[in-house]
């Protein structure tokens, strides 16, 4: 009995050793690989599914949800089979990230805007019906509004018109594109409305402006929930006094469980985000390495499938994507068709 066991064990070891050699990191790769934002993930996954169903020879793409920041780090680590082809991003690539990409050989990137999403603030259906402005949110959430440490405990402390409910905000972590977009779209706007000196800082000292406007307080009023928007929804039901930060698609899917809070009097809705009336709307991107377009089979066809899916009649709308304006869609389709690389001079 033992002898046969030993042989089978040896055989298994030998095969696993062979596989070790056969699958080194430098060879070709048959399937498309995407990493990045958890907001863009469901859309890319859906395109991947449609792509596989329509192209019988294609190997199934692999889509990983890591958050925009972590995804960019993986994406920009180099070119070749060991590195992903596509980065999903819920904000534009940063100049610093692009520099890493260029230093590692991936200077030519296609930037494709696939649609829009909104940063929504929501509360449980039995919540206190807060009506906020970006300035209120800035005074409630910034680490140092106006340069002084944040001491606000209740919403009334930031705006006497608001109820005396403790400030408790559940939101995504610092590596999340949703959080970056919240800081950039809402807090920065609120900061410049609430604090005249911050507006001057923007020209004299951009770094100080950024620290003043986008650093979020760390004394427990803002609770980091990880890259898990479902958890935020559950937390809101358990604690109706708190508000949550998530992408608009989550709000839409959980209609009936949570209610969107109006910002500047505008309730987050499909139309308000699509026409830009709602302050927290943001574009969603995918970034593609140009060098991979020829090396990875099917990558160009995959991008074409993405372009077919993002229109107003496409399947992505049913999953909560907000369709970008027609001119943006035409520009993105042209980027894919002509393989126009991103101009790094436009990055910040």
């Amino acid at each position: 009995m033992f002898r046969s066991l030993a042989f089978s064990a040896l055989a298994l070891l030998a095969t696993s050793a062979c596989h070790d050699q056969a699958s080194g990191g430098t060879g070709a790769r048959a399937q498309i690989r995407a990493v990045g934002s958890s907001t863009v993930y469901p859309f890319t996954a859906m395109v991947a599914e449609a792509f596989v169903a329509a192209t019988p020879d294609a190997r199934t793409p692999v889509i990983e949800s890591t958050g925009t920041g972590a995804g960019m780090k993986l994406f920009c680590a180099g070119i070749g089979a060991a590195h992903p082809d596509i980065a999903d991003a819920s904000r534009r690539i940063k100049a610093s990230e692009y520099r890493t990409c260029r230093a590692n050989g991936a200077a030519a990137l296609l930037e494709v805007e696939v649609g829009l999403d909104g940063i929504a603030f929501g509360e449980a259906m039995n919540g206190p019906r807060l009506a906020l402005t970006p300035a209120d949110l800035y005074r409630a959430l910034a680490a140092a509004p106006g340069g002084r440490p944040n001491t606000a405990r209740t919403w009334r402390d930031v705006n006497p018109a608001l109820p005396s409910v403790p400030i408790q905000v559940y939101g995504p972590p610092a590596t999340s594109g949703t959080r970056d977009a919240m800081a950039e779209l809402i807090l920065t706007r609120g900061c410049e409305e609430a604090d005249a000196s911050a507006r001057q800082l923007a020209t004299t000292s951009p770094d100080a402006h950024k620290a003043r406007c986008t650093r979020i307080r760390e004394d427990g009023a803002y609770v980091d929930m990880g890259e898990n928007d479902n958890l935020i929804i559950q937390k809101l039901q358990a604690n109706p006094q708190a508000i949550g930060v998530f992408g608009y698609s989550f709000l839409e899917e959980n209609e009936g469980a949570v209610r969107g809070l109006p910002l500047d009097g505008v309730i987050p809705s499909y139309d308000a985000i699509a026409d830009g009336r709602y302050p927290g709307s943001r574009p969603l991107y995918i970034y593609v390495k140009k060098a991979h377009l020829e090396a990875v089979p099917g990558l160009a066809a995959f991008l074409a499938a993405y372009a077919r899916a993002w229109g107003p009649d496409g399947p992505l709308v049913r999953r909560g994507l907000i369709v970008a304006p027609a001119d943006v869609r035409a520009r993105s389709a042209a980027v894919i068709a002509r393989q126009t690389p991103l101009d790094p001079a436009t990055l910040r």
Binding site: G24, M46, A53, T55, E64
Partner: protein, 413 residues
């Protein structure tokens, strides 16, 4: 002396001791009841939530293939070219039109996004359909599925009622759950991709951890001299068995992905990482089993002239095998339920097809459960519970095998 204690005092002390005895027994019974209650609660919530995931709501969709005039030749649907022409034949549009014709302007929304695949597969099975009308069973959209199972929104309930009046809606066993992989559509997901990923991962883990663990245990018990070095190794192995699994994930990320350049998300890397985690468990179980073999067996074998290798392989190892196997299966069951290290090496990706090789991207069952629990669509709730039931069943089967092997092979001295 005892007679100094009065009789009623003696009875009082006796009563006290009996009462203490009863209290202790009651506390013990309460502990058993509470733990059994937790277990029952867990199973009841999983089964009540998960059983619905094993059925699928289907809609009978009348499709007029003859009128649609698909660009297909009924004789040439086999092989690769057949697959390519089927893919380009426009089944999506045909299915949407058929649904709108049959159920009104919202018809296409009643069907799952994967409905056209059912239509295509029906044509592939029976090309003669192309010349006539046929009624094809297609999966319902996830909202309709939830409503048919009784927990939907009022609008979806109304749609279900109107479909039910035409008896176009029915519930079937969800065979796709055991043949499909991950999908973005809750009505079309399956656990087979994740289960197959788990099985491939486990094969690598077993192939590496079992021989290395058993040989290490044999060497340490039978050959190694007792000195400071073997003591150090023993302490290290015991510590390794207690290291949190996420640490092994970080080790796997640094060693297999960043240094050796193996592919991300592959069962091969998952198996290697879990093998690192399982090996100390197998070594410890193996050493205990080998210690349990009486020295008289070794002495007798040596006395009739067996060499030390013969003693080990002919006598000690076969006698210790039941214990080693039990330890191995328990270790493998733990590895099967492990999520954290697999997240670190990228086995948390969306993979729409089951893996075919060790280097194909894959997920594992517990990771799939984690991914589905994070999905926005409410249809994923019952699928998550169904996947948990599948995982529990596999774990139960492995533990059952461990008990069976122990009872079957165990020798009593």
């Amino acid at each position: 002396m005892n007679s100094a204690v009065p009789a009623d005092e003696r009875r009082r002390r006796l009563r006290q001791r009996h009462a203490a005895e009863r209290r202790f027994r009651l506390a013990g019974a309460a502990a058993v009841l509470i733990s059994a209650g937790f277990l029952l609660f867990l199973l009841a919530t999983m089964v009540s939530g998960g059983l619905r995931g094993f059925t699928r709501t289907q809609i009978a969709l009348p499709v007029d293939f003859a009128a649609a005039g698909l660009p297909l030749d009924p004789g040439q649907l086999e092989g690769r070219e057949g697959a390519a022409s089927l893919a380009g034949a426009g089944f999506e549009g045909l299915t949407d039109h058929a649904a709108i014709a049959a159920f009104g302007p919202h018809g296409a929304r009643l069907l799952s996004d994967a409905a056209w695949i059912s239509v295509r597969n029906a044509v592939r099975r029976d090309p003669s359909l192309l010349a006539r009308r046929a009624v094809i069973q297609v999966p319902a959209a996830s909202g309709i599925d939830i409503a048919f199972k009784g927990r939907g929104t009022p609008e979806a309930e109304a749609e279900v009622a109107s479909l039910a009046r035409r008896s176009a809606i029915s519930s079937h066993f969800n065979a796709a759950l055991f043949s499909a992989a991950d999908s973005t559509d809750a009505a079309a997901v399956g656990v087979w991709g994740a289960l197959k990923g788990s099985l491939l991962t486990m094969a690598v883990t077993l192939g590496l951890a079992f021989p290395v663990g058993v040989l290490a245990a044999l060497y340490l018990e039978e050959y190694a001299p007792r000195n400071r070095w073997t003591d150090l190794i023993e302490v290290s192995i015991n510590n390794l068995a207690a290291v949190p699994s996420i640490i092994f994930g970080l080790l796997g990320l640094a060693l297999f992905l960043n240094t050796l350049g193996l592919p991300r998300s592959a069962p091969l890397v998952g198996g290697l990482t879990l093998a690192l985690m399982t090996m100390p468990v197998i070594v410890i179980a193996g050493r205990n089993a080998i210690k349990g073999v009486p020295p008289s067996i070794r002495d007798a074998a040596l006395a009739v002239g067996a060499s030390p290798v013969q003693v080990v392989f002919h006598h000690v190892l076969p006698l210790a095998l039941p214990g080693i196997l039990t330890g191995t299966i328990i270790g493998m069951a733990r590895a099967l339920g492990e999520t954290a290290p697999l997240l670190m090496i990228g086995m948390r990706a969306f993979v729409a097809a089951p893996p075919d090789r060790l280097t194909d991207p894959a997920t594992a069952l517990p990771v799939q459960i984690f991914l589905w629990s994070d999905e926005v669509n409410r249809g994923f709730v019952e699928k998550t519970s169904a996947a948990i039931l599948v995982l529990l069943f596999v774990l139960l089967a492995m533990n059952g095998l461990a008990v069976y092997l122990r009872n079957r092979l165990e020798t009593r001295w």
